[in-house]
Structures are given as C-alpha cells and as structure tokens.
Amino acid sequence: MSSHAIREPGGAGKRPRWLQHSDLALRGISLGYIGLFVALPIVALTTRACGGGLHRVWEEMTRPEALFSLRLTLMMAAAMMIINVLMGTLTAWVLVRYRFPAQSVVNALIDLPFAIPTVVTGLMLVVLYGPQSSIGTFLSAHGVEVIYAKPGIVLALLFVTSPFVVRAVQPVLMELDRDMEEAAATLGARRWTVFRKVILPSIFPAVLTGAALSFSRALGEFGSVVMVAGNIPMRTQVASVFIYGEVESDNPLGALGVSVILLAGSLIVLIALNLLQRLGRKRDE
C-alpha cells in the first residue's frame, strides 16, 4: 500500500520491529473479530443442522413446502436483482453526471432504506398499495394484484436492497477518467458505443458487487416480506417466512435445513463474485 511507503524512511528498508508486532496484532484482532461475530454463529448453525442426522435434515429440506419457498425466494430475488442492476446503475449515472436542484437530498435519500426497519417498509407498501389506498383500489379494479402477491414481494425486496447497486457504482463512476470517453467521441463513436465500450467495462465489477450483495441480502429478507407476501404455503410463502414458521412450530430441524441452503446460496454468490472480479483484474493487467 502506498501509505506505508510514504511513512517509512528510506523507502525499501526494513520496518521497525514494533510496527511488525502491531501489524500482527491488528490482523489478529480483525480476524478474531470476524471469526467471533460472523463465522462462529454460522458454524454453530451448520453443526446443529448436521447434528440431528444428515438424512433428517435432507428430508426436511426436500419437503414440497420447503422446496417451493426456496424456489420462490430465488425467483423473486433474481427479478429484484435485474431491476436493481438496471435502475441502480442509471441512478448512479444520473447522480454523478448531472447537476440538478436538491441533488444532495436525493443522494441522502438513497441510503434511507438501510435505516428504515424492514417491518416499516412492509407497512409503507401496504399503506401505499393495499386495498384501502386509491392506488390499490385502482390496480385491483384492473386485475393487478400487488400486495399479498408476487409483485409485492419484489417491491419489498427492491426497497430494502436499492442502495447496494447505486452505492457500489457511484464512486467508480466518479473516478472514471473522462478523457477516454472524449477520445472515443472524437473518433466518432456514438454515445451508446462509448457507454458500451468505455464505461461499462470499468463499472462492470462494481455493478456485479452491487448485484451480488443485493441478491444475498434479499435471500434472507423477512420483516418487509412477511407483511406484503400473503404467506400462503406453496403460493406466496418465501424461505425466510417458512423458516420462521418452522421455528414457531417447534421444528428447528426444518428451519435449520432451509437456513443452511440460504446460507450456502449467499456464500456461492459471494465467492463467484470474488472469482469474477479476480478474473477481470487479470484481464486488465
């Protein structure tokens, strides 16, 4: 890291001993911290799930209601992710490249979903699209069901995860060198071509990060979805609500089984993202 190089006198010389020790301590603390607060609960959950006998967990996982809830969760999260990638990138673009009144307010608004309790999110959506609202009445008169149906789930997930893509893409766009774009434009490239050939490759890793984070976040979302989904088994019940039901009805094994699948899903997405980014970096070099 460049900051070290500046601090060290004589550049490439050996670093003083106390610095090495404190480095070790820092690393130890941060790894221990992650281990204690992140890894340990996950390990505990997984060992509990496997402790009850793997075949029992497997039986629980493959129940039709469990499989259905997992499939629904994945589908809803995927739908959310596609919208989020498109609209999030667009929003970041507008925030970075355009100046308009109340821009700082809009910029602050982006983070708001992280600060709102998810139950409140659910409530807001019900108030807005529910049967007592004018929008809800209008929509249901035209045969469109939002609340207590799948669109409501996607809306809730979108609200909860919307900051991820914007906040991942925004800083990259800000640091983007505009000379390249101008050069491309001078050479006669149209705006769309400039975007596709110059801008997109640079922001792609960031878009991917945002997408993956929002996807894994959506897999576990409970508070808002339980309010808007309808929660009917095999129709509108997502995995997190299924898990909650199993916990409530004294079937921890059923809850653990599906939880482990959700965890594995998130882990796979995040690892895949890491690999993709590493590949991208290699290509750049």
Partner: protein, 352 residues
C-alpha cells in the same frame, strides 16, 4: 469514498448502541436490587388479555395484596405471542407466573422441569379464561355470512393466520375441521372425516392472507382485506369495546378454547416469591378477576360468573373441545404434521 464512510458510521453506531444497551441493562439490574421494601412479581402472558391484566386485574391484585399483607407489589409484565413467550421462559426469562393461550405451552415449560407441581390441580383444571372461535365480518354483514358453508363461497375472501406460527390459527383450523365432523354427525348420525376435510379445503381455498399472528390478522382485516376473519371471540369483542363496529358470528358448531395459568416453581422459588405467585394465580380465579376477564371479551372459567354474562356469551349448540378431535398430540400429528390433513390440503390447493 462515500461507501466506506457510510459503513464505518454504521458500525460505529451499532457498537455505540450495544454499549448503551449494556449500560442500561446494568442500570436496570441495580435499580431492582435497591427496591427491597416492595415485592416484585414477573408475569409472562400472551398478548390478547393484556388490557384485562393491565387495566383491571393487576391494579385490583395490588390493592388486595396491600390489604392482606400491608406490602406493595410491583408486577413486571411481558406480553408476547404464546409460543414466543414459552420459548422465552424456556430460554431463561425468569417469569414467576405464566398465563398462556395453549395448554401445550404450559406443558412444555413443565416438561423442561420449570414447573414441578400438578398445575391442573386448581379450580377449573388450571384454566382461567375460555373463548370460542368466531367469524368476524364487515360492518352490516354485506355479504350475508351466516356460517361455515358461506365461507366456501366464491365471492368471499377469508383471513386467518398461519397455523405454523400462530396458536390462534390452529384453533381456527381445528374449529373448521371439528365443525365439519359435528355437522355431518348431526345430519347422518355419523361423524364423516371426508366431509370435514372437504369443508376445510373449500375454506382454505378462499384464504387470501395468512399473517404470522392472530393480532396481525385482525389488523390486516381492519385494513380492508377480506370479507370474513376467523379469530378468537374475545379478539373481536375487544375491538368492539374499543368502539369499532365489528359484527361477530358464532357458528352453530365451533371449538371451545381454554387458557391456562400457572406458577413457574423454579423461578418463583429462586426469587423467593412463591407465596406472592400463588396468591396471584388464586386471585385470577376470584369472582372479581373473572368478571374483569368477562368485561374484556373472555368467557370466564367460573361457571356461575359465565351465567351472569350469558347474553354476551351464548352457548353454540354443537360446541366441542380439543378432546373431541383426540387431544393436542393427536391433532398436531393428524392435522399439522407432515402428511397431515392441513399440510396436504395446502399442497393440493397449490397444484390446482
């Protein structure tokens, strides 16, 4: 970089909150230890009778305790869904007395060794209140709902919570299934499980939302969803006490619900409040407390007091209780277990 800044701030505030929480916790503990001149009782109850305890029974008990012993008593109250409350007590929440909605929940606490007396060896087998599953409908009953069969109509949307998360919803499903048995028995002289299952399936088909608790289900209904709601009679009566128009229909056949109360021996002894806890449980059985429950929508367990209120609490002709369906263990397995009646019905409906 905006992003790292935001996350740093998040962590900072989270850690700050944690410290504050620990701080407050510490304060709370100290505060309690200082108060030695007064007695403290910890009551863990389910949510529905909250108003009855808060506004009438606990103040009356405090007076009663002052008159008989000359001491002040503070009752620390916690209200949670019955299942969540049970798990809290099992997980270490040191309640001296539990008042729950399901007999099975008290049994669980007993099975964990926290209750070691025969809690049913009290007036009315340890139950303090009763209720029935009722049908609530919209003001003026615009869809003219008269009984179970009407809930199967195509123009009707029905609400009840999810039996997986709500003890109340299990009562609803039990009520429909049992009513099916009773009604077929009345017609043909023989209880017909096929008819009961079919009735349950036809009503479940009309269910629009399954909330996670009975309370939430009523809230959803009041928000304008659905034409009819299945819930405890007392839940609807409570809304009426609060001044809302909420027509209530008690079907010809429905299930009787009984709510238990018990001293948690281990905790009461550890806190040295056994006498106080016993006195509270006994007080809940007195005429005074029984009338208070009745005013808040509960059928009193006391048969004489129930008679006083017979106008508000009519007896449905084909009333049955959980034993008619074979008891809780049987019902959990036959109706809600894997391959159980309700489980299968939801699967079949998904395939339609």
């Amino acid at each position: 970089m905006h992003r790292t800044g935001g996350i740093g701030l998040q962590w900072f505030s989270m850690i700050l909150t944690l410290f504050l929480a620990i701080g407050f916790w510490g304060c709370g503990k100290k505060g309690n230890e200082n108060v030695t001149h007064s007695d403290t009782l910890v009551l863990a109850a389910y949510t529905v009778p909250k108003e009855a305890y808060e506004k009438e029974i606990i103040p009356a008990f405090q007076n009663h305790w002052r008159e008989t012993t000359g001491r002040e008593v503070t009752v620390q109250q916690s209200y949670e869904a019955s299942g969540a409350q049970t798990r809290a007590v099992l997980g270490g929440f040191e309640a001296d007395v539990v008042a729950l909605s399901l007999e099975g929940d008290v049994d669980k606490i007993a099975a964990a060794g926290l209750i070691n007396h025969d809690w049913k060896n009290r007036p009315w087998r340890g139950f303090v209140t009763r209720s029935v599953v009722a049908i609530g409908c919209r003001a003026g009953n615009p869809k003219n709902i008269q009984g179970w069969e009407d809930l199967t109509r195509e123009d009707i949307e029905v609400l009840y919570p999810n039996p997986k998360t709500s003890g109340g919803a299990m009562w609803c499903v039990n009520a429909i299934y049992g009513a099916g048995l009773k009604m077929s028995e009345k017609k043909t002289g023989r209880a017909d499980p096929g008819f009961a299952r079919d009735l349950l399936k036809r009503i479940q088909r009309r269910v629009k939302v399954m909330d996670k608790s009975g309370r939430l289900s009523v809230t959803t209904f009041e928000r304008g969803v659905g034409d009819a709601i299945l819930t405890y009679e007392n839940e609807i009566l409570l809304r009426r006490i609060q001044g809302r128009e909420f027509p209530l229909l008690i079907p010809e056949s429905t299930i009787l619900i009984e709510n238990p109360i018990a001293v948690v021996d281990k905790n009461a002894d550890r806190h040295g409040v056994r006498e106080l806890a016993e006195a509270f449980v006994l007080f809940c059985h007195t005429d005074e407390a029984q009338r208070a429950y009745a005013r808040y929508g509960f059928r009193p367990a006391h048969p004489e007091i129930l008679k006083e209120f017979s106008e508000i609490y009519p007896d449905p002709p084909l009333l049955f209780d959980i034993d008619y369906l074979g008891g809780w263990t049987q019902v959990r397995k036959d109706i809600y277990g894997r391959g159980g009646i309700w489980t299968r019905i939801t699967q079949e409906l998904a395939e339609e």
